[in-house]
Amino acid sequence: MNKETRNYKILLWREPHGKVFFKGEMHGAFVTENISGISPDMSFLEMLDILNDRILSRNDHPVCFESDCREGICGACSLVINGVAHGRQTGTTTCQLHMRSFKSGSTIVVEPFRARSFPVIRDLVVDRSALDRIMQAGGYISVNVGSAPDAHSILVDKKSADQAFEAAACIGCGACVAMCKNSSAMLFVGAKISQLSKLPQGQPERYERVKRMVEQMQVEGFGGCSNTMACEAVCPKGITTKVISELNWEFLKMTLKS
């Protein structure tokens, strides 16, 4: 077991307690916490757990943050760490960061995912349900249970299957939105559009889908894309802006068709 321990100064975004709680309103500020005795093998969230245990035992209010699977797949964890959604390590979610990549003695700044469409709930927890509502608008193939043909009656060439898979890897974390100066959800929406338009099963609803999802994206107040590619840089699942081009192309074809 690694015996080395490390110390950090953490600047935490806090929603001040003691106020009446209004969902979505921001009256937060940074609070400094010093933490020592951290093992390099600890994950970033385990470090926050320990910080919270200490905050609690001094009779104070632990900082709220979200996580569930803690292995980079559920998309629950968020956090902007030192200015970057999910931290500076590429292709990684916050829950997969380990303290070995933070120098002992350094200052770490922790903020929530900020976006117009993500109201803050408390501290570092934000409401990302707008992403669900985009999916509800059309992110699916309409098939009822019981009506499917044998799986092998639908052939999908390996290349399309692999590309669909790569787009389907999106975990719905919203980091792309948080990092975009326009709070655009184009990478998230593009990933779903790309996945389903590559598959033969997705063809019948292809244009209706893009129409509905884009409409809902606008209703939710997400901004447009101005090609800064900040989304791609932070996406933990390597979704590239190619899916945004595909989304634009699908949208254009839809408009031409109607």
């Binding site: 569930d68 998309g75 997969q96 380990h98 249970v145 390996k158 299957a161 669909a164 389907a168």
Partner: protein, 639 residues
């Protein structure tokens, strides 16, 4: 004392005809009436999401709930390896019968034959449906679906989407759920935690939920309630489950009269990343699929050299040695125990000697790094992120960890509990895996339950009730809400200085030590004493912060769950104590063969143990006898 007879409702006739017969004779509900029935589905994992979507498609009025901020984050998302189906696309002799036999035998003859056969039969339709939804399963160059092998089987029947099968299946179910939400048949409520069942005259009529954002309690009445709240492995604190997984829903249903079956049937997964320190909040699984190409070994004698320096002749590939026909693909319970044995033997590797090697050198030499990377790339990366070691160059270190719960609420053939109106599906029920689950069979079961079985069986029950006969505002519900409010108030008034998380980790240590990979009477008795003590200490030590009211309070959420985990753990140990045999994942040291294998006692324990809650008194153990007409009761051998 009242005698409870468990009515399994298994249809008569040959096992292969039962489900067909059931479907032919069950009475559907008039389509015009369906929307009058309100069905509550708690949980949006594979089981819950598939059930809610299918019920919505049929026209029922459905409400679904999850505690996460989105239904897509249910823990099914983390399943890696794959899903079984008897498609025989590989022409290697697979069929429904073989999958049925493998599952019964894999479960060490402690599951109900009729249910397992139905599961095997439906497996093929699951794949069809998921492909139609757009689930991107792995494919071969010709465009056909690919398969891989999993433990406990000699055929290749596992469908997969790289190491993210659960994610892709769940996103499929989530998309079907979204389609129904869009149509208005399903209303989903996220960030809502189950608190209690509403039971009127012995019949389940709704649920009380806690809104995790506002902290308020909310009442939802309905004509049937479906619990799909997953397993209880997280009772052990360190497990492969997500940090939010809990036993609260099933345990509270148990306290309301639902029987809890076989809680001691827990599964320890052989291939997880070993613990690196006390700070750890969870353990990470390395999919069983890795055992397709990885070879498990330890040095023949304690050896401090790095693995690459240990010559071939000084390595013990103990699974290949002990189980020549299944080798590295021996079932989980067997592989886990074998790992424990070599570590107890002081031959373990890595920090604290709690690890064995999973080595890909041969496979990389044989197939090339690219093939291995295409198969397991994301798992290798995950391993490297956590441990800082590169598995392409040095063997992985793995160790068993708590993973899955075969036990759960008792259900009959219709997936209804002993409480009329309460259905239980997915990992939350006890049904199909007996004393040990085979890899890639949980995903199959959750989706068989949700897409195919429940939507058919629920109508038999709904046909017997009048829709909407209880209103959310009915005055008889107020005292029930007060009842769930009391423990929350009590928690808020505790004045200790310890977080519930720390107390949970203490509970976990007790369970792992005495009720983990191997168990004995003295240890289990000790565990029961220690849990009792911990329960007393808990109320003195715990602290829950006050954010001027009970609104969004993650420490409170956790504290409520830990209280249920502690109570439940007593039931778990009690069941382990009373099952005086070894079978599957339940290994009692007193009952083993000369070469250390599990020794079943079919004479006295060929039954399901279903526990009934009795407030302060000891719970009652009720037996459902198991009859094996088709797969003869034999000693399991993977040699």
């Amino acid at each position: 004392m009242e005698k409870i007879i468990l009515e399994t409702k298994v249809p008569s006739g040959p096992v292969s005809e039962k489900w067909k017969k059931y479907c032919e004779t069950s009475k559907p509900i008039n389509p015009a009436n369906k929307r009058k029935y309100h069905v509550i589905v708690v949980g949006t994992g594979l089981a819950g999401a598939s059930a809610a979507a299918s019920l919505g498609e049929l026209g029922y009025n459905v409400s679904s709930f999850c505690f996460q901020d989105s239904p897509r984050r249910a823990h099914s998302i983390a399943a890696q390896g794959g899903i079984n189906a008897a498609k025989n696309y590989k022409n290697d002799g697979d069929n429904v019968w073989r999958l049925f036999c493998d599952t019964i035998k894999g479960g060490d003859f402690r599951a109900r034959e009729a249910n397992v056969y139905r599961l095997a039969e439906l497996s093929v339709r699951i794949i069809d449906h998921c492909v139609a939804q757009g689930v991107p399963f792995a494919r071969e160059y010709g465009g056909l679906l690919d398969n891989r092998s999993f433990g406990g089987s000699l055929v290749s029947r596992t469908f997969y989407a790289r190491g993210q099968t659960g994610q892709q299946l769940l996103l499929g179910a989530y998309s079907s759920l979204n389609r129904q939400i869009n149509k208005g048949t399903v209303k989903n409520y996220s960030r809502m935690e189950f608190q209690d069942l509403i039971v009127i005259d012995g019949v389940v009529k709704g649920v009380i939920m806690r809104d995790l954002v506002s902290g308020e309690f909310a009442v939802f009445t309905g004509d049937a309630v479906v619990l799909a709240t997953g397993g209880y492995s997280a009772a052990f604190y360190l497990s492969t489950n997500a940090v939010g997984c809990n036993v609260s829903a099933t345990y509270r249903a148990y306290k309301k009269g639902a029987l809890f079956a076989n809680p001691c049937f827990t599964q320890i997964h052989p291939t997880c990343i070993p613990q690196s320190g006390h700070h750890q909040s969870k353990l990470t699984l390395m999919s069983e699929s890795l055992r397709n190409d990885g070879r498990v070994w330890v040095p023949k004698e304690k050896d401090m050299r790095s693995p690459n320096e240990i010559p071939e002749t000084e390595r013990d590939y103990y699974l290949e040695r002990k189980y020549p026909s299944y080798g590295n693909l021996a079932p989980r319970d067997i592989a886990s125990r074998a790992a424990k044995q070599v570590c107890d033997d002081n031959r373990g590797v890595g920090p604290g000697g709690k690890g064995v090697y999973l080595d890909f050198e041969n496979a990389i030499n044989r197939l090339g790094k690219d093939v291995i990377s295409a198969r397991y790339g994301n798992l290798f990366e995950m391993y490297e992120k956590i441990t800082g070691e590169n598995p392409y160059e040095t063997p992985m270190r793995i160790y068993p960890a708590m993973h899955y719960s075969m036990g759960g609420l008792w259900v009959n053939y219709e997936l209804m509990s002993n409480l009329p109106g309460l259905f239980v599906i997915g990992e939350a029920n006890f049904s199909d895996h007996g004393a040990n689950r085979l890899g890639a069979s949980a995903l199959m079961q959750t989706l068989a339950d949700g897409y195919f079985i429940l939507p058919n069986t629920i109508s038999s029950y709904l046909n017997t009730v009048k829709p909407g006969d209880l209103q959310d505002t009915d005055s008889c519900i107020f005292p029930m809400v007060e009842e769930v409010r009391t423990p929350v108030r009590r928690l808020m008034s505790c004045r200790g200085n310890t977080s519930p998380n720390v107390l949970h980790s203490q509970l976990g240590r007790i369970l792992w030590e005495y009720c983990g990979m191997s168990r004995n009477e003295a240890g289990l008795l000790k565990a029961l004493t220690e849990i009792k003590q911990l329960k007393e200490d808990f109320w003195k030590l715990v602290r829950v912060p006050h954010y001027n009211n009970t609104s969004f309070n993650q420490v409170l959420e956790k504290a409520i769950r830990v209280v249920d985990f502690m109570d439940f753990s007593e039931l778990l140990c009690l069941d382990a104590l009373e099952r005086k045999e070894s079978c599957g994942g339940h290994f009692r040291e007193e009952y083993q063969t000369e070469d250390g294998e599990a020794k079943r006692n079919d004479e006295d324990f060929c039954h399901v143990a279903a526990w009934k809650y009795n407030a302060e008194d000891k719970p009652t153990r009720i037996q459902e006898e198991l009859v094996f007409e088709h797969v003869p009761l034999t000693t399991r051998s993977y040699k």
